[in-house]
Symmetry: none
Subunit: 418 residues, 2 copies
């Protein structure tokens, strides 16, 4: 019987507090959907043997596949392994190979394995072990009377690797075979409603298509995402439908749609810099290193990021970036001329093609009636072109910083692009 419907159980008392939320189930849902498996419901359960056992019994009664994440750690409050063994009536035994792997992992950091980590080597009889490249807790797969249980560790990096492995080796051959393909189109320079207005006419067309496309718009700071999805008997057909739809969106939104292949804005900028063989130097004030951090997050960015300076104090702007003190006196530190002088200064001293300057008021203090919190000047200089702009962002310190770095990356992208 193919696995049609799944339940996701996230285990951890911290996920039942007012300040923490289960996000692992999103990654699991996405992967299951790709295999055509639907998530019938999901639950969050504390580190509580009785509650978990009850939830597991209900799930085994209602769906073909139960995915549990979390509660596989070495400590007393990690109960998933034991509860699953108990509910399925399988004895637990230590798997010496797992113990050896855990021991080796500690040894590689020149540490001795604490005795309690042996608990992570306990395996219910008949379970298939998925070894964990990023941590000590292995994943486990159990089948019983047409029902299946997949146990995955809670830390997202470990979860992801094991979910992918389980997906390829175990779930795919047991899945119903209807492929669900999703595509994310990333957009800047438009509001959510303007994006919706522009794309709306396509919705009707997509709903009637042979392979219908479902669309959702999601807004975050300085960015809109349009999520497209299609379900078809073959992955290729679903892919083709989604690709055609995403091309239509690209035609409608033009340059505002900066990525149709999952690349982030910083990756798009990085690729443009590589393509044009440009190197870049950055001068940041209010973004405090965030812009550089985003650019250098990209693999291979050392090829084009030459240097960056975070100049918070006016003095640092003068001495490090060669911004004339007179310019600051005249226009204020948060102004287009100063942003430009910062971009030109860092570009000249680093002897690179692209210079960027960002100066602004992130808040909560420092605002004035003429230049309130959220005022940010951005300047970009590339060979043959110079641009600067004064923005007014709304939100708290973190929001202003994110939007300012987003605006600076977007300005670069538009200047460097075709």
């Amino acid at each position: 019987m193919p696995l049609q419907r799944a339940a996701v159980l996230a285990v951890g008392s911290e996920l039942l507090t007012p300040s923490r939320i289960d996000t692992n189930s999103l990654m699991i849902t996405e992967q299951l959907n790709l295999l055509g498996i639907e998530v019938a419901y999901k639950s969050v359960i504390g580190d509580d043997r009785e509650e978990l056992a009850a939830a597991l019994r209900v799930a085994l009664d209602r769906v073909g596949l139960v995915v549990c994440c979390g509660g596989l750690g070495p400590t007393d409050d990690d109960v998933t392994r034991e509860v699953v063994a108990q509910v399925l009536r399988r004895p637990l035994a230590e798997d010496e190979r797992i113990t050896a792997q855990i021991r080796a992992r500690f040894a590689s950091r020149r540490m001795e394995m604490p005795e309690i980590n042996r608990r992570q080597a306990l395996v219910p009889a008949g379970a298939r072990v998925l070894s964990n490249p990023n941590g000590t807790a292995p994943g486990l797969w159990l089948e019983e009377a047409g029902r299946a249980v997949l146990l995955l560790p809670g830390p997202p990096r470990e979860l992801k690797a094991l979910l992918m492995a389980a997906s390829d080796e175990i779930l795919k051959p047991r899945s119903p075979g209807l492929s669900l393909v999703r595509r994310v189109i990333r957009i800047t320079g438009r509001t959510e409603s303007h994006t919706e207005e522009a794309v709306q006419p396509l919705y009707t067309e997509w709903a009637k298509a042979e392979v219908p496309i479902a669309a959702t718009i999601l807004a975050s700071l300085g960015q809109i995402e349009l999520h497209l999805s299609a379900r078809a008997v073959s992955r290729d057909r679903a892919e083709a439908a989604v690709e055609a739809a995403s091309r239509q969106v690209g035609d409608v939104l033009g340059l505002d749609a900066y990525s149709r292949d999952g690349r982030t804005l910083e990756q798009v900028v990085g690729d443009l810099l590589v393509e044009r063989r440009f190197r870049i130097a950055l001068a940041e004030s209010c973004t405090g290193g965030l812009l550089t951090s985003r650019l250098t997050d990209v693999v291979g960015s050392s090829r084009y990021v030459e240097r960056a300076v975070v100049a918070y104090a006016n003095e640092a702007k003068v001495s490090l970036l060669g911004v004339p003190g007179k310019l600051i006196d005249e226009h204020g530190a948060v102004s287009e001329p100063v942003a430009l002088a910062m971009a030109e200064g860092i570009r000249a001293s680093a002897m690179v093609e692209v210079g960027i300057g960002v100066t602004g008021i992130a808040g909560p203090g420092g605002g004035t009636p003429e230049k309130p919190v959220g005022t940010v000047a951005v300047a970009v200089v590339i060979p043959g072109a110079t641009r600067s702009r004064l923005f007014r962002f709304v939100g708290d310190r973190e929001h202003v910083r994110i939007q300012a770095s987003q605006a600076a990356l977007d300005m670069m992208r538009r200047m460097l692009g075709p």
Copy 2:
């Protein structure tokens, strides 16, 4: 019987997609906890009569209070009202007063009430109606054989108003009157298992205490969190118990416990800098601005962050930071002497008290057998003290960068602290 334990059921198919998450349950959990009611588990169910009925039956079987949010709208896929009536075997009847209120709400916007909105005036026999000041769907309260069900609308603004009303008028008199207080202790410099080993002896003591303390350990990159909670007849007693327990943890873990009041590591460092009236300048290589970005995330950081330089290229290390080229040739760019020269260079040129240098290999490229990806040298110079250390972090680029910035902040904290 007072309501001790609750389940929260969030209803809505969109909450079972990979891109949306239930956050309403956080607000509900917070309010219930304030009344001393614990959330035993929570679930997300689609707009599906059968699944919702099953979830409701399970919940009524396990807890004293079931809070459902969502699915009270006027359309066909809003099924909560009907499913609850069916499960509790209560006939539904239109409440004319609610219809009148909904009609008036539409009229106030000069609109006529669509006929489908009459569904929102349907009330299960015996239910108490909570009128909704911010929308059309009223809240509903039902009691049956010592169990209670509270139905709330999904839009957060409507949910909040009705939750507060239900809390004051209905839940408070029925709640156990116990206050639940939580506290998070943040720890660096120990693994999860070593933290557990050290804290374990306290668990037994806490379990037997007059006000028992519950504890959970959570691990993330370069950081462990210990969550404590206590329940007592008065908020003050619960606070006192948690405070005493957190002090015990502080005694056991010593300097490794860096925060018992919710402050982040960067806030703790910032507060130490303010306290000692020190200013700081940073020289980053592999962390690419992340360290500075974390420090400047803190409100008021412009008081102590003077400047930062991201020097990716060796040339930039020499020209911007005055690192002797010979030192790089001799020890390699990723070495303690170079990290020290970076820290000293930026400290001298910025003329501040604290200098920090970070140089390493974040990967995926650039590793060698002697210095594999994840090798990071960190150096901190403060008045009267200098420290450097070579780390070996495990993980991909992002993880190495996060751990390196964490290690640098931690080194500063330990040097600046008492």
